[in-house]
């Protein structure tokens, strides 16, 4: 397994674990009172952000120290090609997520009578969370697509 592939595995696993836990916690906020839920959502977001930065720095750093030669070489042409292909998949997912969010905003603006029904979810900052989920999911798709190409080329 190449240095770049290991690096992508680290990013994929840390993103899935940290943000998987984050989104599960966000769903459980619907049982809390609105004000407490809002504060807790903010705390969870900051915790997830802090954790992903720390975990990436530690594990990517350990990987680079253990593979100094490969880290110095950087990405070669095959790495760049797979990165480009992965980005295409990730971008498509992100655009779909953004359009779903926009559609939801416009739909609720035009049909305010449905607003009460979305309150059933009672998740604070729901639009922001849909957008964040789209972004995280697009990252997972991007990493997975890159790993698929790496695995297929052996």
């Amino acid at each position: 397994m190449s240095f770049k592939e290991k690096s992508i595995w680290i990013s994929l696993v840390s993103t899935v674990v940290i943000f998987g836990d984050y989104f599960l916690n966000i769903l459980s906020l619907s049982r809390l009172p609105a004000e407490i839920a809002k504060t807790t959502a903010l705390e969870l977001s900051l915790r997830a952000l802090f954790l992903i930065i720390i975990v990436e720095i530690i594990f990517q750093g350990m990987l680079a120290v253990g593979n100094r030669k490969a880290a110095d070489l950087g990405a070669d042409e095959r790495d760049k090609l797979y990165e480009y292909k992965g980005n295409n998949f990730g971008y498509t997912v992100l655009v779909i997520g953004v359009f779903i969010s926009l559609g939801r905003i416009v739909f609720l603006e035009m049909n305010p009578q449905f607003m009460a029904q979305t309150d059933v979810l009672n998740i604070p900052l729901l639009t922001a969370h849909i957008l964040l989920f789209s972004f995280i999911f697009s990252e997972v798709v991007r990493f997975s697509a890159q790993l698929y190409y790496y695995r297929s080329s052996y």
Binding site: S2, D76, E77, S152
Partner: protein
């Protein structure tokens, strides 16, 4: 991923170059060992630049190292 139509003689050329390792060739060309492995197995088609560099390492012309086999 399907095998690509560009075949090559890199494995054979490495053998005749005193059993040069994939790692040695990778370092001479400036790519990773895994990329050389993928090229050898026809799972990845290199850019012209890398193809020329590989041919140059073995002192061959590019068409002696790589062959296009139309299906």
């Amino acid at each position: 991923m399907a095998t690509l139509p560009i075949k090559n003689k890199i494995r054979e050329l490495r053998f005749f170059a005193e059993e040069m390792t994939q790692q040695e060739l990778a370092e001479l060309v400036g790519v990773t060992r895994q990329t050389i492995m993928a090229i050898e197995k026809c799972k990845y088609s290199p850019t012209l630049e890398v193809a020329f560099k590989i041919a140059e390492v073995f002192g061959q012309s590019i068409d002696e190292v790589f062959q296009y086999q139309s299906v």
